[in-house]
Amino acid sequence: MTRKNGWVAGLAAPVMIAVMLLSAGSPRVAASDQPSAANAEVKIDNFVFGPQTLTVPVGATVTWTNKDDIPHTTVSTDGVFKSKVMDTDEKFSYTFTKAETYSYFCTIHPKMTGKVVVQ
């Protein structure tokens, strides 16, 4: 290694280490907490809506898919949207046009709850 190359490597190494440390130290944000693309998905699996809290931009369409082998529904607590009973692999979609937090639940199993945050 020449003296010049060694100097560049000596400078680059701490920069790379600093970048790695910075990225490692930055707070990890769950995907569900960030406004995601215009289309988002919620899976109903083992009696749980996943993710339980989904953040989407205004105009986003959220699709719920029932992955359980028993029926579920998706109904907002304030009556904004209401799915029919979804069988296995059936889907329900709703487009959110207003920034608000929408709480929803399954009417057959009311312990199953979720939230869509529209920003």
Partner: protein, 156 residues
């Protein structure tokens, strides 16, 4: 589910309000039927008739308001009933329950009215009523089982 009721139940099991109310009412009706049996043993037949008929009619109301709408909502196909306990429990309970309710109505009609012709009336009162009582308690147990499968087992 019927919109007469709020959504969340009050027994803390994850069931709907309607299912919780139904469970409590069914258990009370079971106790009332035992009371009716005691009344018959004491030869207080009029009180016995009123007690058992009230239970039968109240159950008809619970079927119409809670159980039938719940069952119809999930629309179980034959394939699902055979392969999935969730549906098997409900379908089994429905078949037994409808049988018990119809048999009960038949007994009440024969015992309390003269509508049916003689050839359609039974004579062995005790045997018919005992059969109905045993069937009713089998239905009660299967109903508690259905409640467990639908609401308690999934959230354990």
């Amino acid at each position: 589910m019927s919109s007469f009721f709020p959504t969340r139940g009050f027994l803390g099991t994850g069931a709907t309000f309607a299912a919780d109310i139904n469970l409590v009412v069914q258990l009370i009706m079971g106790a009332a039927l035992i009371t009716g049996l005691v009344l018959a043993k004491q030869k207080r037949y009029q009180a016995h008739g009123i007690c058992q008929t009230t239970v039968l009619l109240l159950n008809l109301l619970m079927i119409g308001l809670v159980m039938w709408p719940s069952f119809r909502q999930v629309k179980p196909s034959f394939r699902k009933v055979v392969h999935n306990w969730y549906y098997t429990a409900a379908a089994g309970h429905a078949v037994l329950g409808i049988t018990a309710e119809l048999l009960g109505l038949y007994i009440v009609i024969v015992a309390g009215t003269d509508i049916l012709p003689l050839r359609l009336r039974f004579k062995h009162w005790k045997r018919w009523m005992q059969t109905e009582l045993v069937l009713w308690f089998i239905v009660l147990v299967s109903g508690v089982g259905t409640y467990y499968v639908w609401y308690m087992a999934p959230v354990r």
